[in-house]
Amino acid sequence: MNDRPDAEVLIIDDDASMRKALERLLRTMGYRTRTFSSAQEFLATDFPPGSVGCIVLDVKMPGMSGTDLQEELKKRDLPFPIVFITGHGTIPMSVQAMKHGAVDFLEKPFDDHALVQAISRAMEKGRQAMAFKREIRDLEERYRLLTPREREVLALVVAGMLNKQIAAELGTSEKTIKVHRGRVMEKMQAGSLADLVRMAEKLDIFTS
């Protein structure tokens, strides 16, 4: 109940009465909510970049189903974590939804504690995903500042080569490599070699 105030619970359910009850329940538990009567309505809504929150989604809806929407969100790279609710959760459907990153699968009717737990987990997961995404974006930003030569040096450094070896590899002096290496550490804001390796890992730029 003490999730970040800017985090919203986005309720998508075709049943008006269920929508209203869910909204009411979540509000009394301190959540900010927004409701949508269909997957299409949700997709037609503009979300500012960096929006956080989680979706509470009815699996079975006419038109676009909950699982269809999950796929669509993935395609559009909208990182909202999803808590599925369903009247008749079948195992294959749950497995599929979980595989695609659903946080929870609640069967109707559900207990408010179960809902809160699921939403908290989803929010947490959403925050992590958001943080990770932000970090990657930062790293990519920094990486873009590197010259082609510095990128070459970075790749060889994280591959575990010594300055001398790198110099030989690139046909230049050890001193030059040392200068490049210093610039890479500075631009990437890496405190240590281990730091740099972790960043490279995240950026997926191992060459060997």
Binding site: A21, L22, K60, G87, P109, F110
Partner: protein, 469 residues
């Protein structure tokens, strides 16, 4: 026979000759006196007489011979004729024998029929009010022979629920109407069904004189009919339960939805009550919503119950559109799950029909589910099912369910109404055959046809109630 004739002719001839010779001999013997002028020619005369006699004899024998030959021929003809006639007669006799056997058989059959069917005849003299029964009627009514009878006595034996109907029918017959009715009687306390058919004779001035008729015990036929009726109803019930099974997922969802909303609302209310200053308006709103959701769930349960209940089997005034709308509500969720658009185009102000809404509703649901099923494989729009009701010819209501599926096809068209024919993986294949028997029991018809464009249409008709019925 020919030889015998010969022998009978010959002695007569011999006797005649002998007599003639004796007469001639005695005539011409010397003791017999001749005129004196002829005496000298006596020998000559005797010779001539004898010669004539012998010649005559020869002629007689010749002609007799000839005659005998003719007789022989005639005789043969006669015999042939007799033979032929005899043969014909034998055939006639054989035919007669066969006919007699057939008659005996049919008499035996009739006796058996009378025994089995228990038929009797009666006569009512309308002037003396004297009623007579054959033994068969006494047997049907379970009364000892010879009990004094009149029309009132007969009427007292009719089942109380049918007495008015019987009396009315008889009075109509006295006015000249047909009398051919089926009704119940009480024979020795047991309820029996009889069929009666009678004729009334009128005087030239139109006064009824005499009534005569037959009574047949049809209890067994009626029992068999009722049994068949009951079996049909049971089968229809089984089919409805199966249908309900097919709808289970959608119906469970439909009940679960309000239940989940009720729980969420109740929990929200609890949170509100935990506040220092509970929002009373919100609590009121919550309770209202809970009540609404509860009645929503109850509606669904009511619909399922109506589908699962055993119908009374009694026909009543029925609003066809109402039955259609109820069926549409039952399959609404199912159609949404399947992504099928169901449209209804129902004519307003349709007259009532006689029927059982449970059974006709079952037919509607069957047709709707079939139509949706037909759209299962079709992905390109439109995925529509259209239900229509309209008046036809002033005597019947026609209800049609049209889909935009792949159609039935000529080959399958012949089998769609056969029991156990199905294209579905689930389902008994009884839906359409039961639907057809239901509609026929309502005096209507159920038929199928492929649309000119896409898909198929199933239509059924129901006769509207006669105004004075």
């Amino acid at each position: 026979m020919t030889a015998k004739r010969e022998h009978t002719a010959t002695p007569a001839l011999i006797t005649a000759c002998t007599v003639f010779l004796l007469v001639a001999a005695s005539a011409f013997s010397p003791a017999y006196a001749l005129p004196p002028a002829w005496e000298e020619y006596r020998g000559c005369i005797v010779g001539i007489v004898l010669g004539v006699f012998v010649l005559g004899l020869l002629v007689v024998v010749f002609f007799q011979r000839k005659n005998e030959q003719g007789i022989e021929i005639q005789h043969e003809d006669l015999e042939r004729l007799v033979r032929e006639r005899t043969a014909g007669l034998e055939a006639e006799i054989e035919k007669g024998r066969i006919a007699q056997e057939a008659l005996a058989r049919s008499e035996a059959d009739l006796k058996m029929v009378q025994e089995v069917a228990v038929v009797g005849g009666w006569n009512l003299d309308l002037r003396t009010s004297e009623l007579t029964w054959t033994d068969g009627v006494y047997e049907v009514f379970g009364l000892p022979r010879g009990v004094p009878l009149d029309y009132e006595k007969f009427l007292s034996l009719v089942h109380p629920d049918d007495a008015e109907y019987v009396n009315r029918s008889w009075n109509d017959a006295l006015e000249g109407a047909q009398y051919d009715i089926e009704h119940r009687i009480l024979a020795d306390g047991a309820v029996k069904w009889v069929r009666e058919k009678a004729r009334v004779e009128f005087s030239d001035s139109g006064v009824p004189l005499r009534g005569s008729g037959i009574v047949q015990d049809i209890t067994r036929r009626k029992q068999a009919e009722q049994e068949r009726q009951m079996l049909r109803r049971q089968l229809a019930h089984v089919s409805r339960v199966t249908t309900a099974g097919e709808l289970t997922a959608a119906l469970a969802h439909e009940i679960n939805q309000p239940l989940a909303a009720i729980l969420a609302n109740a929990q929200a209310a609890r949170h509100i009550l935990d506040d220092e200053k509970p929002d009373m308006d919100e609590l009121h709103a919550i309770l209202d919503d809970i009540v609404n959701d509860d009645s929503r769930a109850r509606e669904v349960i009511k619909r399922i119950r109506s589908l699962l209940r055993k119908e009374s089997g009694k026909f009543d005034r029925m609003d066809v559109n109402r039955v259609i709308e109820d069926a549409l509500k039952l399959v609404e969720r199912e159609s949404r799950f399947r992504g099928v658009m169901v449209r209804a185009d129902l004519a307003e102000g349709l007259p009532p029909v006689m029927g059982d809404p449970v059974q006709v509703g079952q037919v509607m649901i069957n047709l709707l589910l079939n139509a949706m099923e037909a759209l299962g494989e079709v992905s390109e729009p439109p995925r529509d099912v259209t239900v229509e009701s309209r008046m036809s010819g002033g005597t019947e209501i026609v209800v049609s369910v049209r889909d935009t599926g792949e159609g039935i096809g000529e080959k399958a068209m012949r089998s769609v109404f056969e029991p156990f024919y199905t294209t579905r993986e689930s389902g008994l294949g009884l839906g359409l055959s039961i639907s057809r028997s239901i509609i026929e029991a309502h005096g209507g018809r159920l038929s199928a046809a492929d649309n000119p464009g896409r898909g198929a249409t199933f239509s059924f008709s129901l006769p509207v109630m006669q105004r004075n019925a």
